[in-house]
Symmetry: C2
């Protein structure tokens, strides 16, 4: 059957995901991108940037928890955290659930993403007034290049796909600047697309780049993300000094805040590597 | 954008998955269901039954491996295996990779599924001539009801969704018959739909039914399945006598055949329970 205008569709080359919508709530062209907000029948509100699904109210919890808690529980003392991108503030909210975080800086180039998130996804923005939070609207690549060497514990790259404005966030130059900006035992985590669709084109080159630019270890963590292409997504954690497999076990077993996807068992599970992926990356 | 006729779409209530197709290779109405086969641009051949995606050449490996290897490595000596449904023969092929399996009986009601799989998915049928394989085209519910008590080590329910012909495979009566047919330490595994979409409607009632009908433990295992609704799928293993968490560690660490998704780490990982799922099932 063909889908009528009551659906929003994001077509990838060979596979497409559609959500049934009731109305378009907003549309604007910013200096950087086109942002649309829809109301859906079953997935809450939907934010779309340049035709790509950014998040829905229903399933963003998986992505935002997996972009924040694994990397923070893998670092011994994550005090200074920088989020590159992440303008919807969902990752920032999860980061600020960690009492040991003393400062969380979000650097998104497009302020309109944040303003629209405040309006249409207010639940993601309820930590924006936390005194530890700093929201900058600026170029994340330049921010990392200018950062004081050794000053950041965890860098979270919560970006759009590696085409257009976010392309530079997947480059060797950027990773080199990250290594320099990170303190000892510093960690980087980056959203790293779909293992089914992007292992050859993105994940393998990313692992190679991370290792070439000074990270000593990298681990891809897998999780479901139903409204992203293929429904199967990853983040990749890269480490400056220690193996990524480290986990603060006791802390992760007794999480003092509410999560909906993440827990210590999920943390360990997400790092398990499917056979085809292991062969493509490490054979 | 709307999708034109070059896409096959399976709409769920709120979310839809589409595959780009080049042509329809076959269509027939059997006494049981309507079967269609398409050629896709990026996912190999596609089999559709009554409008629902059954499998594609590209991603069926995840489902078939997860329907067979976890349950077989969780049983101490899986000699006699019965597959209910599974007419495409992909699960049968994986089961027969295990040397310790002495007999594998596939009971699908519709012989045409198997004949079309032989034609359009020959790679799934390359174990059909194994002397340990028996292919029956019959009612699986009746087969289990008539089975000699205590005669089966592992029952694999590889069925369509719990609407229409497969509905009885999700009933308490069927589970009671399974418990009777299983030998000591016997295991049942059943495809159990999407945690995002079907936890309240299917997964929780299934767990309740399994425990009410004589199984002492049940564990839902999670895996990606990009062409099923939400891209996130599960199977649920139920045990007659022992905890499901048992794994033949040494055997699973040294798998003597090729897999593309499954390995021992994936086995342990698949059983990790997301927080929202734990609260819905066990709180």
């Amino acid at each position: 059957m063909a889908l009528d205008d009551n659906w929003f569709t994001e077509p990838d080359r060979d596979i497409a995901m559609s959500l049934r919508i009731t109305k378009k709530l907003h549309e604007e062209q910013t200096p950087y991108q086109k942002i649309e907000i829809f109301e859906t029948t079953g997935f809450g509100n939907l934010m779309v940037i340049d035709g790509f699904v950014m998040l829905t109210g229903r399933d963003n919890f998986i992505y935002h928890e997996m972009m924040s808690h694994p990397v923070l529980y893998s670092h011994n003392a994550p005090k200074n955290v920088v989020i590159i991108g992440g303008g919807d503030c969902g990752t920032l909210r999860e980061v600020l659930k960690h009492d040991e975080v003393e400062k969380a800086t979000q650097v998104d180039i497009d302020e309109r993403v944040t303003r629209l998130s405040e309006q249409y996804f207010p639940e993601l923005c309820d930590a924006n007034d936390d005194p530890r939070a700093e929201l900058l609207f600026d170029d994340g690549i330049q921010y990392i290049k200018d950062a004081e060497p050794g000053s950041i514990d965890v860098i979270i790259v919560d970006s759009t796909d590696p085409v257009g404005p976010a392309e530079g966030l997947f480059s060797a130059d950027f990773y080199r600047d990250c290594v320099k900006a990170l303190g000892s035992d510093g960690l980087l985590v980056q959203q790293s697309e779909s293992p089914l669709l992007h292992t050859d084109s993105i994940l393998r080159p990313m692992h190679d780049s991370m290792r070439m630019t000074g990270f000593i270890d990298a681990l891809t963590m897998h999780f479901p993300q139903p409204t992203y292409p293929s429904g199967w997504w990853t983040c990749t954690i890269a480490s400056r000094d220690a193996p990524v497999s480290f986990l603060r076990e006791e802390a992760a077993e007794e999480i003092p805040f509410v999560t909906h996807y993440y827990n210590a068992a999920i943390h360990r599970a997400a790092g398990a590597t499917p056979e085809f992926f292991r062969r493509k990356l490490f054979a």
